[in-house]
Symmetry: C2
Subunit: 345 residues, 2 copies
C-alpha cells in the first residue's frame, strides 16, 4: 500500500540519468550512422508515458534540428494501411518494454515508407529494438511499479540527447545541474506534503505547462490520473483558454510547472485568470516570483537549463502522485488493476 | 438560457456544407496553385475547436496525400523563435475569426521557413486570410454562440475537401449522403433526450473515438466541457488503455463514436472493458451491432463514408452539449463567461 516499488524506482533516477548521459558519444555516433542527409523531418511513435516523453522530444527536436516534428497516429498504419512517403525522415519509436504491438508495427511501416528508424526502449532484444535501424537502450533496469518513473525520465533524457546530437547549432547542456536537481527533489519529499493533503480530497486537479514544460504537464497529469483515478489531463495555457477553462470552478487544484524562460509570463497570466475563477494555485518552481498568484510553491533547484527542467519537475509530480494515492487509500505500485505492459494494437 | 443562437447556427449546417462542397473545383484549383512539388509533408496550425478540425485533417491528409502530417506547437514559433526548414511543406492555418494572434504569427513563421501556406477561416480579409498564399473561406456566416458549431463542421469539411484535392489515388466521397445524415440528425433532436438526462447528473463523461472519428471524439469532448463545466476530454481506445482507464469508475458515462470500418472492433472491445469497470456505455452509430455492449444507441443514418462520418456524429454531440447544458441550468450560448474569440499569443 505504501508504494515501495514506485519509491525505490524513483530513487534510482539520478543513477539512471548519470549512466545514460555518460553515453553522449554513443548517441552522437548512433545519430551519425542513422541520419538521412538532408534531414527533412522527424516522426515520433509512442503511447502513454512514452508519448509524453515523445512530446518533450517533439518540442526539443524541432528546436535544435530545425525541421518539423510530428507525432504519429498509429491507427493510420495499423488499421487503415496508410504508408506515407518518408524519404529523408527520421522515425523514432519509444516503448519501455519494446513490445507494444502497435508501436512495433507502426515503426515498421514508417521504415517501409523510407524513414530511418531509431528505437528508444529499456529492453535489449525487444521487437522494437530488433526491427529499428538503431536502438538507444535506456539501461534503466527492470521497472515493476505500474506508473512509469525511471523509464519516463530516461526516455525524456534520451530525447534531449537526440536533440543535442541533431542540433544545427552546437548545444552544451548542464546535465550535472539537472541531475543534482533531481537528487535534491528526491532528498526533500516532505516539500510535497501539504499539496498532497489538498489533492487527497480534491475532485479536480489540473497540471499546466507550456513549451519545454508541456510534456512535463502531460506526464504529471497522467501520473496523477493513474494513481488517483481522477480524470486529470495536463494542458497548456493556450489550449486552456480555447474552451476547457469553462471547467475551472472554485476548488479546482491547479498545478503550474514553470521555469525561467520565454513562457514563464504565460503561466503567471494563466494562474491569475484561474485564480479569478476560484481555483487554488500551486506551482513547481525555483522561487515564488515566477507565478506571483501561487498560494503554494513546491521548490526545485535553480539554475537548471530550461530544456532539462522537465526532469526535476516530473519527479516532484511522481512524489505528489505516490503520496496522494496513499492518502486516498490506493496502492501506487499497482493502482486500479492496471497492467504494466499495455498491448494495444 | 435555451441556447437559441447555438440551435439556430446548428440548423444552418446542411446549407453551409452544401455551399462549401459545391466549391470543390475552387478548392482543387487553390491546391493546384499552392502545392509545392514534390510535397514532402504538411503542418497544421490551430487551437480549440479549430484544432479538433485540424486533427481530422491530420488523419485524412496523411491518408490521401501519403505524406506525414504534423500539428504545429505554436509556442515554438511565438515564444522560442524556432523557424524549422519547410521547403516542400504545405502549412495550413485554421481559425474561425482569422484573428487569433498566435495562429497568424505561427503561420507567418512557417511561411518564412519555406512552407506554402493556406488559411482556412470564416472571415474574408482577416489577418490569417491576408497573410497566407491562399485562403479557403468557409462562408458559414457570422457565428455568435460561444460554442463553435457550423464553423467547426465547415472547417472539418474544408479539410476533407483538401484531402480529396491532395489525394494520390482519386477519391470521390458521397457528400450528399453525409449532408443528408446531418439533416436527419437535426430533424430528430429527441433522439438524444434520454442520454442528455443521464449527462445532466453525471460527474464523468468520456467520449471515445479512433482513427477517422478521433477528431470527432475530441470535438464532442470540448463541446461538452464548454457547455457543462465538466472536465471532459475525448480520447482514443489506445490512449485510454495506457493509463487513463484508471479514472473509469462506476457511473462514468462513456460515449462511443463509431462507424463501420477498420476501427469499429476497437470501440467494441473498449466498450466491453469499460463496462467491466462499471461505466455506462452509450454509442452514436447507425445500428446497435457495432458496439454490442451499449445500453443506449443514438442513431445516425447508415451509408455515410467513414471519412465523413464525423459530420453527423459531431452534430449529435452538439445536440447533447446544448441539451445537457440547459438541464444543468447553464446557457449554452454563452457558458461560464467564455469569450467567442480567444486571443492567445
Amino acid at each position: 500500500m505504501s508504494g515501495e516499488r514506485m519509491h525505490a524506482e524513483m530513487a534510482e533516477q539520478p543513477e539512471v540519468l548519470r549512466r545514460l548521459t555518460s553515453r553522449r558519444d554513443e548517441v552522437a555516433e548512433l545519430v551519425r550512422r542513422t541520419l538521412p542527409e538532408p534531414l527533412r523531418g522527424i516522426v515520433l511513435v509512442a503511447r502513454g508515458s512514452s508519448d509524453n516523453a515523445a512530446m518533450h522530444g517533439r518540442y526539443l527536436l524541432e528546436t535544435t534540428a530545425q525541421v518539423p516534428v510530428a507525432l504519429a497516429a498509429p491507427s493510420l498504419q495499423t488499421r487503415y494501411g496508410v504508408r506515407p512517403r518518408l524519404e529523408g525522415f527520421l522515425a523514432v519509436g519509444v516503448s519501455q518494454s519494446g513490445a507494444t504491438p502497435e508501436i512495433v508495427s507502426t515503426l515498421q511501416e514508417l521504415r517501409a515508407g523510407g524513414a530511418a528508424t531509431i528505437a528508444i526502449t529499456n529492453v535489449a532484444g525487444s521487437p522494437l529494438a530488433r526491427d529499428a535501424d538503431a536502438a538507444l537502450l535506456l539501461e534503466a533496469g527492470e521497472e515493476l511499479a505500474v506508473p512509469a518513473t525511471k523509464t519516463f525520465t530516461a526516455q525524456a533524457a534520451a530525447f534531449v540527447l537526440l536533440a543535442e546530437a541533431l542540433a544545427v547549432r552546437p548545444l552544451t547542456l548542464d546535465w550535472a545541474r539537472a541531475i543534482d536537481a533531481v537528487e535534491d527533489v528526491l532528498a526533500t519529499p516532505e516539500a510535497i506534503g501539504p499539496l498532497a493533503e489538498r489533492f487527497a480530497t480534491a475532485d479536480r486537479v489540473l497540471p499546466v505547462g507550456r513549451g519545454w514544460l508541456y510534456g512535463a504537464a502531460l506526464e504529471v497529469g497522467l501520473k496523477l490520473a493513474e494513481t488517483t483515478g481522477l480524470p486529470v489531463h495536463g494542458t497548456s495555457p493556450a489550449d486552456l483558454q480555447h474552451g476547457p477553462i469553462a471547467a475551472i470552478h472554485p476548488g479546482t487544484q491547479v498545478l503550474c510547472l514553470v521555469a525561467p524562460g520565454p513562457v514563464a509570463a504565460d503561466l503567471a497570466a494563466t494562474a491569475s485568470a484561474l485564480r479569478a475563477r476560484g481555483a487554488a494555485i500551486a506551482v513547481v518552481a525555483e522561487d515564488d516570483t515566477l507565478v506571483p498568484d501561487a498560494d503554494v510553491v513546491v521548490p526545485v533547484m535553480a539554475g537548471v537549463p530550461e530544456m532539462l527542467a522537465l526532469l526535476p519537475q516530473v519527479v516532484r509530480g511522481q512524489q505528489l502522485a505516490a503520496r496522494t494515492a496513499v492518502l486516498r487509500g490506493i496502492d501506487p505500485d499497482a493502482p486500479f488493476a492496471l497492467s504494466k505492459v499495455t498491448r494495444t494494437t
